[in-house]
């Protein structure tokens, strides 16, 4: 049954990527200026070369043929060439992905640590003033645009990963706080407390099995939030990662690069969500 679930997730990922790819190819094909090719104006080219370039362009007129060619090239690792930077997209990704992965990874680690520490302490203490304080702190960060947090991190000379953490933290905290508060109100947990079980034992034996699968699902979603946060943070902090590349591509109207990046990030997001779902399923020990 677990195999079936994984196969279903795999199929959903492939279908989403193929559909997303078609959508992206359509966007690139219909974007203003697609038919214009500066290379055809190059005086050094002879008429045969210009004719060959025109023929190549004509082949891309059919949207499905264009998509099929793009897909075939992608299957061989060729993601096309960036219009604005004049470099292969795959090379740009190889150069920039490590920084983004570090930034997002560190941001997620810090945000989850802070959010869980606050949510757990609020659930343990059950003091309304402390609960209100943590809610106000997270609520304040929730009301500040991600790009402003990125700008403030530049002003205060704070690492970009902390800005990502501050963007992700309130979203994680809000859900984790609600989940844990609900779990700690369950009758069997109240009974366990009344019987004098230690807080750690209650946490790991009674609360985690209830809230764990949903927290895992939240972990999958938080990857998507962190990747989205990487755009303003990298763009405004001057970090040469995938987020900054996406921003530069958007400003330069470099749609082939931008759509490739969107598909790639979608793939990472889907993988993270599916992994969280499958792990949650395994932990619950359920049969699908």
């Amino acid at each position: 049954m677990l195999g079936k679930k994984m196969a279903r997730h795999g199929l959903a990922i492939v279908a989403t990527v193929l559909l997303g790819g078609l959508l992206s190819a359509t966007l690139v094909r219909l974007a203003p200026g697609f038919d214009a090719d500066e290379a055809q104006l190059d005086p050094h080219l002879n008429s045969e070369s210009v004719q060959a370039l025109r023929h190549q362009r004509l082949e891309q007129h059919n949207i499905f043929r264009f998509y099929f060619h793009s897909l075939r090239r992608a299957a061989h690792g060729d993601l096309g060439t960036s219009l604005s930077l004049g470099q292969p997209v795959s090379r740009l990704l190889r150069e920039r992905a490590p920084l983004t992965l570090r930034l997002v990874g560190m941001g997620l680690l810090v945000s989850w640590t802070v959010a869980m520490a606050l949510a757990l302490s609020a659930a343990w203490l059950r003091v309304s003033a402390y609960d209100a304080l943590t809610t106000v702190i997270s609520g304040t960060f929730l009301c500040i645009p991600a790009a402003v947090l990125a700008l403030l991190s530049v002003l205060w000379n704070v690492p970009g990963a902390l800005a990502v953490a501050l963007i992700v933290f309130p979203r994680v905290y809000r859900y984790a706080h609600n989940l844990l508060a609900k779990a700690y109100c369950l009758p069997h947990i109240i009974t366990a407390r009344a019987k004098g079980l230690s807080e750690l034992r209650i946490l790991f034996w009674h609360v985690v099995p209830i809230a764990g699968p949903q927290l895992l699902a939240l972990a999958g979603v938080s990857v998507s939030i962190a990747l989205g946060a990487a755009i303003p943070v990298e763009a405004l902090c001057g970090l040469a990662g995938v987020g900054q590349l996406a921003w530069q591509a958007a400003l330069a109207r470099d749609l082939p690069l931008l759509t490739n990046l969107t598909i790639l990030v979608t793939l990472v997001t889907l993988l993270a969500n599916s992994s969280a779902d499958v792990i949650g399923h395994m932990l619950r020990g359920e049969e699908a």
């Binding site: 959903a12 989403t16 559909l19 997303g20 992206s24 966007l27 219909l30 974007a31 203003p32 309304s128 609520g139 304040t140 929730l142 009301c143 500040i144 645009p145 991600a146 790009a147 402003v148 700008l151 403030l152 002003l155 205060w156 998507s224 990747l227 989205g228 755009i231 303003p232 763009a235 405004l236 996406a246 921003w247 591509a249 958007a250 400003l251 109207r253 470099d254 749609l255 931008l258 759509t259 990046l261 969107t262 990030v265 979608t266 997001t269 889907l270 969500n273």
Partner: protein
Amino acid sequence: MKLWPTNFWRSSACAVLLLVVGLSLAANWLAPAGYAKQYRDATDASPSPQHWLGTDEIGRDRFARVLYGTRISLLLAPAAALLTTLMAALVGGLGGYLGGAWARGAMAVTDLFLSLPWLFLLITVRAMMPLNVSPLASVLVTFLMLGLLGWTSAARVLCSTAGSLRESDFVRQARASGIRGGRLFWIHVLPNLKPVLYAQFWISIPVFILSEANLGILGLGVAEPMPSWGSLLKELEGLVSVGEEPWKFVPLILLVVVVTAFQLVLSKQAEVAA
């Protein structure tokens, strides 16, 4: 026992929102000049009796721009939220009501859009716009784009609600009485979807305000000289320290106050939407 009753916070938040909306609507009378008027002899000026919040780097009165920018953000974010709600009702509500393959199809489309990262999708669609769009068109395009792309989570909630309504006793009874199709949807299903639709509408507004601000700071939002909270916040990029020119933080403070007020007002709506 709570120090302040919930209603106190909600009423205060409503009062703040009404005040800000009222001030922005009165921009024509309150602002010392239009949002694009340049005082070339007073560029990047500090606050003074003539310019309460100083002027920007090309001499435009910052107070006037904040008032007009607030008006644009606070009028168009609800318009985008309305569009989102209509799209969600169309895809999710109708899909859930029709059930079967329609519901599965609606959810497949919703899942596809949900899996695309929001900010990546926004900047990709924004990048498709030609470079020579007029400022007014850029305002409309930005909020139209937010409205057209932000319907997914609302559609999911509506699909599930409409699906359960379809199986409810009163709808079965209406169907048994011979009421079918559009009439059944219009008279029996839609009125019961209204609380969820209202909740989704109100919840979308602060989300769109923040999204527009993010796009504006990244230079992919409303085009100059039209002001919006996003374009006003772009000024923060040039700051060297926080204490240097604190009046430049007024648009940020206003935005945080308004979004916080929305969150306080919407705490009950969020429960309905869930």
